[in-house]
Symmetry: C2
Subunit: 639 residues, 2 copies
């Protein structure tokens, strides 16, 4: 097929495009993001571009006046390329997300942004549940029988028939824009086309038709949208292969560290819009960089599946989250209908579908559903426990008979945020620490063996455990005075982990008493929630088979250290299984299997929610846990 | 509820609106038509208005810059009314359909536009098929149980649950815009709301939620979109009551009289767009005038159901119809998926649904399906015949076992178009004529007993029959010379039906030899098609129980006259049943019953199509019928 060279200005990005491809599609391939609010229906008129050189073709549309036409203005979604072109994308037509003014960022976050580089996260979830390969969006190559006088059904019905014959799928919806393009596409392609089919709540939608065999050019993104961290995976939907994984801080962190602060910020003028724009910047950053790294055309990204807590999903979709924090704590939506990616603002194929994993309650969202799914709690005979350590800690107890979840606000310390030298688990993060009992000399291990840049969540857990063991830290969280290693800062003492000379940093990498206090509160919240949930359901830890520990800790978490600081209960270590980001794993499973979607729906409808704020005893448990490892030492006989 | 006075400029239209109602909704109520390409999703940014006085509230949106905001610019679909307001609708934001330049209209059509006034068409179809009242869009009043700590499912699931409990309907889709508005609506309305539910291809979509009980404010339009005439009916969906009926000429007539000319015009530059705009003007004219006459708020019009021939449906949806006239005559679509009314350009509730009756082939469209449905051909044990006399004449033979359709291009004469004094069957149309055999004096009857303004289809049939009987016309179609009554014009003779003194017209109302020639060809095409279809299926007319005669003839058609001119076969008159606009009746039945939609789908899938152009004998039949009543007089023994 004839190919043309298309230059987009002012970016000066160049891409090759086939004849008759739309400008919008060519721009996406070039990494130029054009506004397309209506999903390429040609109705919103927001994707206006100026063809400076070369020739494009377009059916007349009410959105372009004769005067516009004379000025070379076209709708990018409707105009097709007919020669080499130079195309200007004016500012109004660009997708530009509001920048977070640096003044609004707090000192620590500003530091993270400077330091954080995106590295792959390991996929640690054991494949407890296997699902059939039934991706939510499929591409099917079809060689249609051309019509003749004896077989003169319409173009659309001919395509539907071929799809039924090939896959047994009954298409029940096709947008008008695709019907309008169908006749020409089929005839130009000599009836050999690839149909893109999306599953949405029990029905199948025809999302697009392309000339030739493009059945392998079909991609999707799975996302875990955390309060502090956004993790995304690019998936080849034709093979289920993971192409790449990236994580980044959720840029909403500038507006508050936890969901409550975010909800309050959303009530301010333009607050909701700003929060939405911030998370979109994080998501689109991952989308664009993974696609660019792996040479994936964003036009071929047809599905995005997001797991996230209830507030995150509201903000992702720009839905007012205010009722979440008002008695009786009811969200606008737990089980979100499928919408188009571009309705939320995700820069992939404008007709691509956006799926959100159903949540259970205001403080137990779809990320928990996804975690339960990937760990297989819902299918096991034995009773298992899942502890997801994040800014909002979530704990689920159950098996195939019952599932009960609870949540506790832990703060972002375990994600390396809100602590003085914290960072995400990416290259250069200190993730393992040991302290010599005699000399107090520190040895550490960093991710990717890079020069140390900061400490990630698992590093902090190790550090506190080692400081306790070496006697640097007392059980109350105060740092002992130790020459050379411990010094005074403005608010208390700090322990030096790595000197600025050893590290790549401007300052020494330290742990302060304020950091220890943060970590103590975080671990107390999660421990107290776990114990309260167990007691409420009259379970003892010895009745539990597996305890799955999830969280964005990168590749490792030392369970012994987590018990030593009182984050996890002191039970047989053999019960523990560190599973990494179980929410992301569950999101991916759903993206590539409609069966997993059904299972997630089943989990969300079965799981019940225990609200800790009205639970007698929770506050006492929390107060008792504000000690290393616990005020009741008999609970931690091995430490 | 608090109400405010809203003035729209420059129209100076005033309407009362409740607090928190959107500007778009208030404008629709005032009869001011604002562009809303995205269906009120707040994404297309085309509904910008300027609030000149008073106060409106709006969540921030990327479509409105800070600068816009300072200038008082709001999106009409997102901004809600908070006080008395004066709102300017700038030209860019208005729905304005391309005007057909008067130079493009031919003389005869210009005359029609001047004359045509819309009067109600009688509904003559016997209710052969009764369907349950299951309107395609339903409004349900619900009193939700407010959430508490023990019943804390989300707002959306609470609403879904209430809908399930009230109607057993499982909602499977809700647009993001409705999810965004839901929380506030439910709480402001104290959980007493009306849900609007649309059925679309087996699933149920939540189209909107309003405060309070508005279950009776639910309307729809049924349309028959003919090549020459567009007929529409406003229906109260809550009761199935017909509120009003109107017909008007299809403004596409300026671009050609039949479907072939229109398809050819669509291939010209901007041709498709102009044809689309023209039919939209006709449809929206009926929508707006019926709604205004009956005080129906266009926001409450949630469904439009269109029957039309295949070309008309393509042009309605701006789908290229070119493949219809190219061998092997395959349309882009016969069974059109449900889309939103505003995607086509119909000015009702922007989320309202547009349904098109499925067609069978390029020249047998959904109008035939609707006609078969309303006459009940598909359910009868006996074999019946349906003859729909329009610009495209369609004939269907069949019963519950089989259905075969054919079509013949008859031209618009029977719709009062393309003939010198023709008009639609509206007030002042001569519909019955008798001629004294001795004096040749003419007596006539007009619709609504108004002064005569022209002759409608049934009037022409009567006139030709009476002229033949009185010997004014010979069997070849030539007018005899009769003093005072017959005179010479430029191209032949003409017979005076009513003098300009008796009529309200500038010229005498006459029938010319050219008119007779038009009518002869039209009747020959339909008769020949009927006979060819019967012969092909080896049926004799005495094996047929009922012959349904359909067409836009207003209230009456003299079957005896139709036989006398050779339009209908000379068989027992007791077999004939004049049913008026059977397509419109079938469209209405589907609008108010999902069961009828299923039945129509069944008809379309079962009906086969006989292509006359490849049928041996059709041309001979046609040539033999170019005589009054027929060259073979033995076929018309009674005339």
């Amino acid at each position: 097929m004839e190919k043309f060279k298309i230059t987009f200005i002012p970016d000066n990005k160049v891409v090759e495009a086939e004849k008759d491809r739309t400008i919008l599609s060519a721009a996406l391939s070039a990494g130029v993001y054009i506004n397309s609010a209506c999903g390429g229906d040609g109705v919103c008129g927001r994707c206006r571009v100026i063809v400076r050189k070369g020739s494009c073709a377009m059916l007349p549309t009410g959105s372009i006046s004769l005067d516009d036409k004379k000025r070379g203005i076209y709708l990018a979604c409707m105009a097709t390329i007919q020669s080499d072109c130079e195309i200007e994308v004016p500012p109004d037509s660009r997708v530009e997300f509001e920048q977070i003014a640096s003044g609004q960022q707090d000192r620590r976050l500003a530091g993270f942004y400077a330091k954080a580089e995106d590295v792959e996260q390991a996929d640690l979830v054991p494949q407890v549940q296997k699902f059939r390969h039934v991706p939510l969006v499929e591409k099917i190559y079809l060689e249609l029988i051309p019509p003749d006088l004896n077989d003169h059904i319409s173009d659309l019905e001919r395509l539907y028939r071929a799809i039924r014959q090939a896959r047994g799928l009954q298409v029940s919806h096709t947008g008008l824009v695709n019907v309008r393009l169908l006749g020409d596409t089929l005839r130009d392609a000599s009836w050999k086309v690839t149909a893109t089919l999306g599953r949405r709540q029990g029905i199948v939608e025809l999302l697009g038709v392309e000339a030739g065999n493009r059945s392998n050019a079909n991609f999707g993104f799975a996302f875990d949208i955390g309060t502090t961290t956004v993790s995304g995976q690019l998936i080849d939907l034709s093979s289920s292969r993971i192409i790449g994984t990236k994580a980044t801080y959720n840029k909403q962190a500038s507006f508050g560290a936890d969901v409550i602060t975010r909800i309050m910020y959303a009530q301010k003028a333009e607050g909701l819009e700003k929060l939405h724009a911030a998370v979109m910047e994080s998501i689109n950053g991952i989308v664009q960089s993974l696609a660019a790294e792996h040479n994936v055309d964003l036009n071929d990204v047809n599905a995005v599946l997001c797991a996230g807590n209830t507030t995150m999903i509201h903000l992702l979709l720009r839905i007012d989250p205010s009722s979440i924090r008002k008695d009786p704590y009811v969200p606008a939506v737990n089980s979100m209908p499928v919408v188009r990616c571009n309705e939320a603002g995700i820069t992939v194929n404008p007709r691509g579908l956006l799926y959100c994993v159903p949540g259970i309650a205001s403080y137990v969202g779809g990320d928990v559903t996804a975690g339960v799914l990937s760990c297989g709690l819902d299918k096991a005979d034995a009773v298992n426990l899942l502890i997801d350590i994040g800014t909002n800690g979530e704990i689920v107890l159950g098996n195939r008979e019952f599932l009960v979840a609870t949540a506790a606000s832990a703060g972002p310390a375990f994600e390396g945020s809100g602590v003085s030298c914290g960072m995400r688990s990416s290259a250069g993060a200190i993730q393992k620490i040991s302290i010599d009992k005699k000399t107090f000399a520190v040895s550490y291990e960093t991710i990717s063996r890079a020069k140390p840049r900061g400490i990630c969540g698992s590093g902090y857990i190790d550090a506190v455990a080692q400081m306790l063991k070496a006697g640097v830290l007392d059980k109350d969280g105060r740092i002992r005075q130790i020459p050379l290693r411990v010094r005074q800062n403005d608010t208390g003492r700090e322990f030096v982990i790595a000197s600025r000379e050893d590290a790549q940093t401007l300052e020494d990498i330290v742990i302060t008493e304020a950091d220890i206090e943060n970590i103590k509160r975080a671990k107390a919240a999660i421990y107290a929630a776990t114990v309260t949930l167990m007691r409420r359901l009259s379970f003892e830890f010895n009745q539990i088979k597996n305890i799955y520990i999830a969280g964005g800790f990168g590749t490792s978490l030392d369970i012994r250290s987590a018990i030593a600081i009182g984050l996890l209960p002191d039970v047989d270590e053999g019960k523990y299984l560190f599973v990494g980001n179980s929410s992301l794993a569950g999101a991916r499973q759903q993206l590539i299997s409609d069966d997993a979607v059904a299972a997630a729906g089943d989990i969300a409808s079965r799981m019940t929610y225990l609200e800790l704020s009205v639970e007698p005893g929770y506050m006492d448990e929390y107060m008792a846990a504000l000690f290393f490892p616990h005020t009741d030492l008999s609970r931690f006989p091995n430490f």
